[in-house]
């Protein structure tokens, strides 16, 4: 319960920052820091004290199996610690970073909301719970990428990120639905017991993978992550390197034990991971913006993690957890470090960042340490974890997939060494044009406090990377509990010096090749173009919109007659289909009728045709009145005098209304407008005309039960006190219909009055405008 409260506290601070403390964001940020630290503390104490993992279920929508289930197992502890400690560092850093930025309020609010969601995500013990926080992180990430919403790049990138992760999330949703449908549960533990197999399970697994891939920017969805770098540095550091992108990895880690053996799973994961690793590495070597280099390196490292968790062997899982931690630490340090340089120099161009050596030497050294950790150089933590990864893959026995994974990782490692070295190179090199930097420097005099605050987290990250490296075996033992939470067999250890083995040899070769490539790699490569993935995304987006327009243009032409035509056609389909099912048998039910009925009907028919043929509007109205009179006669003949009287009166009034409206319209300007083709109209009219009486005939023939009117006859005189049954129905048995009817009549009158008033007002306005213009 305490950790749930911790999650809630995040959101509380978020709301506070967005609404209550809009003018004092720093206070809100401090509150956030307290919450983050508190969360870390809570998680640690919960984990240490408990013998089994503490667990909490909060019912939400039990009928659909929607419940929040949290469990603080080892893996969750590590992840939660990462989230809150890195969050603490980044938030502290951001106070300085956003010193003069009006968006800080928004940042703090969204940041805390994000941190809360992320904490919820990693603590989730249930696919469904995870999904909820998963989607929330997408939304916060969207809003954070677009924090500087005046920049078009930021807006576009935010949209791409949201739509990509959103699409993945929807796939995941279907996957969850399938699993829940099949196995009645979404809990990780219960699903593992259910051991889903079969077609449905592999479809579900694939859908979940799509979710994970989009979130963790795996091929082919890797494009959005570099774009997300449009966000301010703290956002990039936290969301897009250390935490949110790990959500996909968390999902993989949690589900690998469930689906690891469902055939497609391992192939999918390994292939996507390897390709991503290579593409990310390649692009990281070519970018000139240091932040983008880091972004691509993140993509590449995520590929590595994907492979590790996807392979799903105990060792690989252990290695995955270890590398996850290592990556989070050094990557956060790197991003924040680049932020420091950016803050200092006003540029992130790799050919210029060398100048930072002079102004922020401590930070640059710290960045260097982080880079070495990323390259996997002894004695930094990154070395130990990467070694473990290689060992795990060398040990794993997965045939072709295993080999692909192994050599993929080897190739990927070459890249990671190479881009790390390239950045190192950039840092130690003295840039050509230092003049402009000095100038920039001049008007960017930050206070000492700010500089210290900015540098501190970077240094901490570097120190931790180094410290964990030296204490690899201790840290390794800490990691046993997390990885065994995922897979009970995943018990292993880390070592700073593993001894000479295949993995070490491979590493040495990798480092050698990578270092050479990285050092030689050009820093001023300016072949930067829009990445393929983004272009594909934009093309798909634009094509969707264009296609939608074309379809809409056909379906929604804006022409009333066409709408009416379509509707009428549908109206006639109903009776016709009925006739085709039942046949034309009911036609034999037609009687010849009396001569009087015949003559009245003929008069009505002739007049009705006249309405259609005659072009004059008022004559049409007259004919309509004639039709009405004839029909009144018909009613009279059929024993409906009430109806006949009302019909007569109403028809007369109708003519009067037509007169009142039309007498003004005697001068009508008819414009040449596109009309509905005559022949189509006639066809539709004929269909309706044939279809409906046929249905009427069939319906009449089908009557078996007596009419409800029996009751009316029986009760009319004694209980309702009237002999005219029609009237008694109108005012008593079905008086409520009449009630509604007079309301309709009244509103229609109000509508008429309203329109006339509107006309008067508009006319008055027009006249006064004219007068003003005249005077």
């Amino acid at each position: 319960m305490v950790f749930f409260a911790a999650v809630v506290a995040h959101f509380a601070v978020a709301v506070l920052a967005l609404i209550g403390l809009r003018r004092r964001p720093v206070i809100a940020a401090c509150a956030g820091l307290v919450v983050l630290a508190g969360t870390a503390l809570v998680v640690v104490t919960q984990a240490i004290g408990a013998t089994s993992a503490p667990r909490k279920t909060i019912e939400w929508l039990p009928l659909l199996g929607f419940n929040f289930t949290f469990q603080v197992d080892g893996f969750a502890v590590v992840m939660a610690l990462l989230v809150s400690l890195l969050g603490f560092g980044v938030l502290a850093y951001s106070i300085a970073y956003f010193e003069h930025d009006a968006t800080f309020t928004r940042f703090v609010g969204l940041f805390m909301a994000f941190a809360g969601s992320m904490t919820g995500l990693v603590l989730a013990e249930d696919l469904f719970t995870m999904f909820i926080f998963w989607e929330l992180t997408s939304v916060w990430s969207f809003l954070l990428i677009g924090l500087h919403d005046k920049s078009e790049v930021a807006r576009r990138s935010a949209v791409r990120a949201l739509l990509t992760t959103g699409a993945g999330g929807l796939c995941m949703l279907v996957g969850i639905g399938l699993l829940q449908n099949q196995f009645g549960t979404t809990s990780f533990a219960q699903l593992r017991e259910a051991a889903p197999t079969g077609k449905m399970a592999s479809v579900a697994a694939s859908l979940l993978l799509l979710g994970a891939f989009t979130k963790s920017a795996q091929f082919p969805f890797h494009f959005w992550l570099p774009g997300a770098m449009a966000a301010p540095t703290p956002v990039s550091a936290y969301l897009h390197s250390a935490t949110m992108v790990k959500a996909g990895i968390v999902l993989l880690a949690r589900t690998a034990p469930i689906f690891g053996d469902t055939g497609v799973w391992r192939w999918w994961v390994v292939l996507a991971g390897v390709i991503t690793m290579l593409i990310g590495g390649w692009r990281a070597l070519r970018e000139t913006d240091a932040k983008l280099v880091l972004a691509h390196s993140t993509v590449s490292q995520l590929g590595l993690l994907t492979v590790l968790f996807g392979i799903g062997s105990p060792y690989a899982t252990y290695a995955g957890v270890a590398h996850l931690v290592a990556h989070a630490i050094f990557k956060a340090g790197l991003f924040l470090g680049v932020g420091v340089i950016d803050h200092e120099l006003g540029t992130r161009d790799v050919s210029k960042i060398g100048a930072a050596r002079r102004s922020v030497p401590v930070s640059v050294v710290a960045i260097g340490a982080c880079l070495l950790s990323m390259a996997g150089i002894i004695p930094l933590f990154g070395f130990a974890t990467k070694e473990k990864a290689l060992v795990a893959l060398l040990d794993a026995e997965f045939g072709l997939v295993g080999s692909i994974a192994l050599w993929g990782i080897v190739a990927g490692s070459v890249f990671s060494v190479a881009y790390s070295v390239r950045l190192l190179h950039a840092l130690v090199r003295t840039p050509n044009d230092s003049a402009s930097n000095d100038e920039h420097h001049a008007h960017h005099e930050a206070s000492a406090l700010v500089r210290t605050t900015l540098a501190a987290p970077v240094v901490v990250a570097a120190v931790v990377s180094l410290g964990f490296g030296f204490a690899a075996s201790t840290v390794g033992s800490w990691l046993v509990s997390p990885s065994s939470a995922l897979d009970v067999k995943a018990v292993s250890k880390l070592a700073l010096w593993p001894g000479i083995n295949d993995a070490l040899l491979i590493s040495l070769v990798v480092i050698a090749i990578g270092a050479v490539i990285g050092w030689k790699a050009p820093l001023e490569d300016n072949s930067a173009q829009q990445p393929q993935g983004e272009r594909v995304f934009d093309a798909v987006y634009d094509a969707t919109i264009a296609g939608a327009k074309r379809i809409t243009a056909v379906i929604q032409p804006g022409s009333l007659p066409i709408y009416v035509g379509v509707t009428l056609l549908l109206v006639s389909i109903a009776p016709l289909s009925a006739t085709f099912v039942d046949g034309f048998g009911s036609l034999s039910g037609l009687t010849s009728g009396t001569a009087l009925e015949a003559s009245v009907s003929i008069i009505a028919i002739v007049l009705a045709l006249g309405v259609a043929v005659l072009q004059s509007r008022f004559t049409g109205a007259m004919f309509l009145g004639g039709v009405g009179y004839a029909i009144a006669a018909l009613f009279a003949l059929r024993g409906a005098p009430d109806l006949a009287v009302t019909q007569l009166l109403v028809e007369t009034l109708t003519i009067v209304v037509f007169l009142l409206a039309l007498r003004a319209m005697t001068r009508i300007t008819t414009r040449p407008v596109a009309r509905f083709p005559q022949i189509t109209r006639m066809f539709i009219a004929a269909t309706v005309g044939i279809a409906i009486p046929l249905l009427a005939l069939a319906a009449r023939d089908a009557r078996t039960a007596p009419s409800a009117s029996q009751e009316y006859f029986a009760r009319s005189v004694d209980e309702a006190g009237g002999r005219n049954v029609v009237n008694v129905i109108l005012v008593d048995f079905r008086g409520f219909d009449t009630m509604g009817e007079i309301v309709v009549l009244a509103i229609a009158a109000l509508g008429v009055a309203n329109l006339v008033r509107a006309a008067e007002q508009h006319r008055r306005a027009a006249i006064s405008v004219k007068e003003v213009a005249g005077s």
């Binding site: 004639g626 009144a632 009279a636 006949a644 007369t652 007169l659 007498r663 005697t666």
Partner: protein
């Protein structure tokens, strides 16, 4: 009596048919109005005849309404003609 009523109704139907013919034929609004007027008269006549024959008071109600409305219709048309001619 039945024969007489049948003859009467036959005559009235004939009159009605002629009236309808006048209306349907290409004619001016005024002519149509007159024919319309006449048609209501014919209808009233037939109602009265049938009412007398059947001794049914209900039909007389109809006749009352119709005789009230008959000339409202023609007055309406007249007003329309005036409005139209007035603006031309």
């Amino acid at each position: 009596m039945k024969l007489v009523v049948t003859i009467c109704l036959g005559l009235l139907v004939l009159a009605g048919a002629l009236g309808v013919a006048r209306i349907v034929r290409r004619s001016t609004l005024g002519d149509r109005a007159i024919a319309f007027d006449m048609l209501t008269s014919v209808l009233i006549c037939s109602l009265l005849v049938s009412a007398g024959y059947l001794r049914d008071g209900l039909l007389l109600d109809l006749a009352i309404v119709l005789s009230l409305l008959g000339f409202i219709a023609s007055v309406t048309i007249a007003r329309f003609i005036e409005a139209r001619d007035g603006t031309e």
